[in-house]
Subunit: 315 residues, 4 copies
């Protein structure tokens, strides 16, 4: 069914008609949440947003947000994973009413979802998780969404999902992966793949940069955008990055990692799945942040011990 | 310049006008060459093709092909890299005339190009190399092209490049990478990246498949096609593959490799460039072809020796 | 100080005088515990052992073991890590008296130690952990020991440690690594290193086996035993394995892994330490156990999709 | 046959009687050759050494060396691999007589041996290759030797091999691996393994260093020397290095690599042998030498592009 799989490279089909009458609460208006509020509103969803930053918030408090929503309430949490998400979900568990529903759209570990769902279920509050991909471009392009939860809960939030995702076939940008946690599990794997993809392109970039006979490095990436096997959105972004800073001269090679890459490798281990490329990407980031690797100091020390090879003095 | 980098995801700009009066010889009409002949012809290029397979060839011999072409002749070689390309280029060196030009569009190692160019130059025959990406879809979508050679030689063949590549901005699908060999060097790196990308997606696929909470594995890949950070043409092809065979049940896990992946790692070594993700992809293919790994037998033997751990008897 | 570091390759110095009057309980008389009981006894320690296997046990029950020991009691636990260790420690916590001491000598995760120590501390029972290396050869050669716990607790058990370790300088085979858990942490890292060492030798073995010009593969390993940089006990064991089965023809390439390799990589991730060689060893074991890798099926499927490359049918 | 494999850890058997009447020429008296001359002499071999360094040479020129040797001459070449070895062997080919013999004991690539043997054979000069391991400790401990060549050639040089290797069973420290090149092939693999071993220990070192609960890091390595599964000569050297500089504070983490590690990975690729641990070790060295990785700059740039994540400015 070529029509389906090739869709990103053709014009989208005529838009599905969307008449949304949903009113949602959105907690967290940072890089992601801010744009999502706008895209939801553009899609006809009524949104009351809360953020501790007074410049962007619609209401002054979580209490005000809860008071503003019709019942049963729908609250989307879009805050940093870990302690902050935990605190927000806990607060919502204390303040929402039976029949209300919480969606965690952040980058929580899937095991957290199962914990949160159980805690909220004790108060008859519903819970679903949704992995959201698309970065800062999601406002313009729509977000790819991976949801986990009970069928009826996912169905309830569908108008919101439809507003967030790109126009066109729902199946091309939204999936109900499975029960609670499944959405974040899929998002975790998505991000693990993303690590591997970025690393592969980056290694190729360095190989091209290393070779004198390559006279047009940015042009080579640009020419891969249409027609080649490696064409992708990440490639388009590399072209954009090289447009803006041809030699990436302004950027340091220090690369952060967030939780999903680590969790992906941990899940690979837990499930005895070899994941050497994704793990290589994670370790390359770790190494990028080391000024003075104890391991490599030891290798240098050993070479000196057995072979008399010179070491470099630490500086 | 967003207009440029985002182009694959928008409609192409109005087609550049193409009036081609070129007549080219094409040697090799296999999976790639056959389709390229058709796309060249669709683009207004006159093509005389030769292949040893009488069902597809236009002429009976290389001599006939040479006789059919206007001078100075332009001959595109599209045969398997290595010995066969070598033989064809050698034959052309013997039979073409000064001022004629050979383009190697196959997957030759870049070092071969430099050898071929030097040999042909002794007879005043021109040489350029061109990496061609796009696989069996190139006929329909156009090919991504990476050319190496002298400016005037590349310019001469530009009508052919324009016919082969997708419609739209030339820079999005064609690059003159550098001198002779540079095109194939870029194609080699492109394929190395391709190995890494495929491995990353495949590891993610296995991780999703390993987890019970994932209830819709094909649907998850499908939903990544629009909006997510990992959207790409390879992803589209995975969706297509899972459409055709949802569990990939009909396919063995034995994976071949061709030269470019190996050469990429060799170049990484030669240039002291860490390439762990691409190399992981290559080694995963090697391992996929081993029924009985001597290395792992040794690890099993060692565990038995020091710890008394049971080994599995060979079967 | 050459005298210290070179000691394994010279005769041990005159034995330190050992007069032990300790009576210890030992729970778990499997591959490790059985031999350890004998070595303890050879070293002058009185040992009462318990195992569910009536052929090897000294007493009929844990209760009998506890009854047989002088107070304050010293009980060494040498059972499989995880649930069984947990159950034994819990039982001891219920049955021992304040001032008694438990040593976990199995392969528990260091985080378990901290949990066990806390639980026992509530009953004023002392706890230490001790990583034990040496495998089935420990009876003959002595064991390498890595202990974690409070100074006074480690001191108390020192006669037992001295009996278990090889003759010679204590510092060459025993270390008090740190507080509770530190011994098992060091043992975990030791085993992670062991994975990497075995994999490196095994890769070299396969490379030698792959090359026709190598006419004496077992002889090559044998000749590395003295003089070369790669000489080691694991190498000696490889020589022994190749003596017993020159082509390892009787052994399958299926390799198990136990917890420590996985935990080592998880700790690498938790501490942002690149550990590519150890991780490669772990993943090679995972791959050795896969008959039909979903990941590699996907790579094969992709090659077919874009390039028309043949796949192998599943069998 | 435990007597054989365990020999490094017991006293050597009584020395085989060695009465050597050989007179050899030795070209190259650097870190390795200088010590080898002394060990040869200690073993009863008459040695005439030549080096460009007047402080260490016995004769003023290669011509003088040749003049000093009885015929048929035996000349051991111990100079840096590559161009210098090539030049020395070429010079010897011009100056030696039919029936003379050259042994290349340096770290030449095995393919070079086959080239050198063929060139010398045209002048009826014999050639053998010998991988020599043991580093600066070989003078004291003896060298591990891996020889390649014709049976009669290896036999001829046996008194020299016997003088160089440690006392004890010949098979424990000397192997005739196969024909010309086989000795260096085995040495190449030996060094590849060495890379992997060092990396595994180094990763473990860093993991121990990363953990607060490890209070005695040097002591932990020291305690692994006797009894544990990971005991080895490299471990002994690590203990020595940590004795001399407990935190390795004086050493930079920049690590060189020489040819053998690269060649090992290239051979792995050429023979389709997965070698992930050895390759990880090689890439870790490459990465240790990069101040500003283009690949990681690109990963950072991409994270900024899609997610708005901050990059670090280059400094």
């Amino acid at each position: 069914m070529q029509a389906t799989w090739a869709s990103p490279y053709r014009l989208p089909p005529p838009s599905q008609k969307r008449v949304h009458t949903v009113h949602i609460g959105l907690i967290g208006l940072g890089k992601m949440g801010f744009n999502m509020r706008e895209r939801m509103r553009n899609g006809g969803i009524e949104v009351t947003g809360f953020d501790r930053n007074p410049d962007v918030t619609d209401v002054a408090s979580v209490d005000d947000l809860i008071a503003a929503l019709p019942t049963p309430r729908l609250v989307w949490v879009m805050v940093p994973s870990g302690a902050i998400t935990d605190a927000v979900v806990t607060e919502l568990g204390e303040k929402l009413s039976p029949g209300d529903m919480v969606i965690d759209g952040g980058n929580s570990r899937f095991t957290e979802d199962q914990k949160h769902a159980a805690a909220l279920a004790e108060k008859s509050i519903r819970f679903a998780d949704c992995g959201v991909s698309g970065g800062v471009w999601g406002l313009q392009n729509g977000y790819g969404l991976m949801a986990g939860g009970a069928d009826e809960d996912i169905e309830l939030a569908m108008p919101v999902f439809d507003a967030l995702r790109p126009e066109g076939e729902r199946a091309d940008s939204f999936v109900h992966v499975g029960g609670v946690g499944a959405g974040h599990y899929a998002k975790m794997v998505h991000n693990g793949i993303e690590y591997g993809l970025m690393q592969a392109y980056a290694e190729g970039y360095e190989l091209l940069a290393a070779k004198d006979i390559v006279k047009d490095l940015p042009g080579t990436f640009r020419a891969w955008q249409k027609g080649t096997v490696v064409r992708s959105w990440l490639l388009d972004l590399m072209v954009k990055a090289l447009d803006e800073d041809p030699g990436l001269a302004s950027i340091d090679d220090y690369v952060e990692d967030s939780g999903e890459g680590r969790w992906t490798v941990e899940e690979a281990i837990a499930n005895a799945v070899p994941a050497p490329a994704i793990t290589a990407a994670l370790f390359a980031r770790f190494a990028s942040r080391e000024d003075n690797s104890p391991a490599m100091k030891m290798v240098s020390a050993l070479r000196h011990q057995f072979g008399g090879h010179a070491t470099r003095p630490a500086n």
